[in-house]
């Protein structure tokens, strides 16, 4: 996806932003990994006497509509949100990148036609397709990951295709070819090796899109089924109670926002660092 030039342009601001975003991501990852160990309560245990509370001594961040501990649910929610988004990006890359490279290598009519189709899929608003697919496939982690992964593989196909095309006509590829290198060798040693940075940048952008899509679908009730917490699903449930207590819904909102912001800022900086010609 074409992006406007990075907004965090000044060096000083950008290094502060990177430190800040990096810290947020590390905290979220730790929370997700260690949720079982350091989470203060069971994220599923219900307490009907203490619903929708603001922070207290026992429940550091308050409780939700069933009296469950919000801090523990946030940590377990981080696990779901990050796991779904990261796996989906992995699927998208594993499907998309080989497809893009193969099409660039094959060339001709097949390439033109296939890339037209890929362009169409990149342009269509993906969330609608996800809604319909999930309505039939049912909720749950696996369909969710598969659906989001398949929604984003055309983006990887497009990026790796255009990158591979430009690499394949370079002189070093021509040299290898004239020395008798086969297609697999060329793809492995000449093409893929020169693509890592572009794929990494694409992956960081796709990661934030995937997190938002997962959160959106869970918000609508089409994602991970209750009672397993995910941030989007928590927001979707807690929003109905803001007139009783607006505090609980703010927490998962902030967590999601901070994480997506951190991924975006890091992606921007990654792009600046890896593509020096974009620097102004």
């Amino acid at each position: 996806m074409a992006r406007a030039p990075s907004i965090v342009a000044s060096r000083r601001l950008s290094s502060t932003a990177v430190t800040f975003s990096g810290t947020i991501l590390v905290v979220m990852l730790l929370a997700a990994l260690l949720a079982d160990l350091i989470g203060p309560h069971d994220p599923l245990s219900i307490d009907p006497n203490r619903i929708l509370e603001s922070p207290t001594r026992t429940f550091w961040l308050g409780t939700d509509e069933l009296g469950r501990d919000l801090l523990s649910r946030l940590m377990h929610g981080a696990r779901v949100s990050l796991a779904v988004a990261i796996s989906a990006v992995a699927i998208a890359a594993v499907v998309g990148v080989p497809l893009g490279i193969t099409l660039a290598y094959v060339g001709g009519r097949v390439e033109t036609l296939a890339m037209r189709v890929v362009d169409v899929f990149v342009s269509l608003p993906e969330i609608f397709i996800a809604i319909v697919v999930l309505a039939f496939a049912g909720g749950g982690m696996t369909p969710l990951i598969a659906t989001i992964g398949l929604l984003y593989f055309p983006q990887f196909a497009r990026v790796s295709h255009s990158m591979a095309r430009s690499i394949l006509v370079r002189d070093h590829v021509l040299a290898s070819r004239s020395l008798g290198a086969g297609p697999l060798w060329i793809v492995r040693k000449e093409v893929v090796i020169n693509m890592y940075s572009v794929i990494a940048v694409q992956a960081s952008f796709t990661l934030s899109f995937a997190m938002l899509t997962e959160a959106g679908l869970s918000f609508l009730g089409l994602g991970v089924p209750a009672p397993t917490p995910s941030w989007g699903q928590m927001i979707g449930t807690l929003k109905d109670y803001i007139y009783i207590n607006a505090w609980p819904v703010v927490l998962p909102s902030i967590a999601l926002f901070a994480t997506v912001l951190a991924v975006n800022v890091l992606g921007d900086c990654l792009q600046d660092r890896l593509n020096p010609e974009l620097r102004r």
Partner: protein
């Protein structure tokens, strides 16, 4: 221009064909038999009844034949009937399409209204506090998920300030004022997400234009920096911004999914979501097709406008 028009039309037609294939395939090849859903679990258990129903609906014919019949029916304006209500899908769609379009147009309006000034400030005040704050606001708007923005807006403007209704819809003909006050929050929620994109483009384009010779000339003639920017740099800088607003306008459709659910706005997306929960597949198909058609028409019109304004665009993808 004619050749360009022809190419864009061909591209739009191809997109439409693929989109309808996706819609058709997503219903026909996914697990969950529509006939069993249609009949309900109890009667659906009887194979003879299922077979009869399948024949009546034409579902026992070859898939490609079904596709052709389905497409033909769409051109006749027949999208089938809802399983739940028995009403023709088309009637519901005709009521809801304008509502979703209204939301998108209002969102676009908010995005430009907030995004352009934000971009101008961050370009003009580059390296100074005001510019940094404007930049951060743009990134924040870009990164904030629509439902987070939406919930914040509800908490601030309807819970605390009690200025606007938190959700709901009233027809314009019933009560114009209430209709508009219901529109403000959802439109802002959609607009803020897009505002970040507009601000980024404005900033990039304006800082580029500010270095051009004609702006320097204006300054040399004695114009103040303020006037040189407003009269000379900004109008030129806004051309690519308008282009990007057009290209991405269709993407606002995606934002309506969450916003319509959050604010109980009875548009296309909320119809798709509610139909998905009851697996009302004729409604799902019809709504999805309507959404894609809107998206394709918007993209096509925007391409056309761009081609009219900028002749270079016409030759680009030849």
């Amino acid at each position: 221009m004619f050749a360009y028009l022809r190419r864009r039309l061909a591209a739009a037609a191809l997109t439409l064909l693929l989109a309808s294939l996706v819609v058709f395939a997503s219903i026909h090849f996914l697990p969950g038999d529509p006939v069993v859903i249609l009949l309900g679990e109890q009667i659906g258990g009887d194979p003879a009844v299922v077979e009869a129903m399948r024949h009546q609906l034409g579902l026992d014919r070859p898939v490609h034949e079904q596709f052709v019949v389905w497409i033909g029916n769409i051109f006749d304006g027949d999208l089938g009937r809802s399983i739940r209500t028995g009403e023709p899908v088309m009637i519901d769609l005709l009521v809801r399409v304008p509502r979703s379009l209204e939301l998108i147009v209002a969102g676009l309006f908010v995005a430009v209204l907030l995004g352009v000034p934000l971009g101008v400030i961050s370009a003009r005040e580059r390296g100074r506090p005001a510019g940094t704050i404007a930049s951060i606001a743009a990134v924040a708007g870009f990164s904030a998920p629509v439902f987070v923005t939406g919930i914040l807006l509800v908490i601030v403007f309807s819970l605390w300030l009690e200025l606007l209704p938190s959700s709901g819809y009233v027809a314009f003909s019933d009560d114009p004022l209430l209709h508009l006050s219901c529109l403000v929050l959802p439109a802002t929620a959609i607009g803020v997400a897009f505002m970040g994109v507009v601000a980024r483009m404005t900033r990039a384009s304006l800082s580029d234009t500010m270095r051009r010779d004609f702006v320097r000339l204006a300054r040399a003639k004695g114009l103040s920096r303020e006037l040189a920017i407003r009269r000379h740099a900004l109008p030129n800088a806004l051309v690519p911004v308008i282009a990007i607003v057009g290209i991405r306008a269709g993407n606002l459709l995606g934002g309506t999914v969450i916003v319509e659910a959050l604010f109980d706005w009875p548009g296309l997306s909320s119809l798709l979501v509610s139909a998905s929960f009851s697996r009302d597949y004729p409604v799902m198909q019809g709504t999805l097709i309507a959404i894609f058609v809107i998206f394709i028409v918007i993209s096509f019109l925007m391409d056309l406008c761009q081609g009219l304004i900028d002749p270079r665009v016409r030759d680009r993808d030849r």
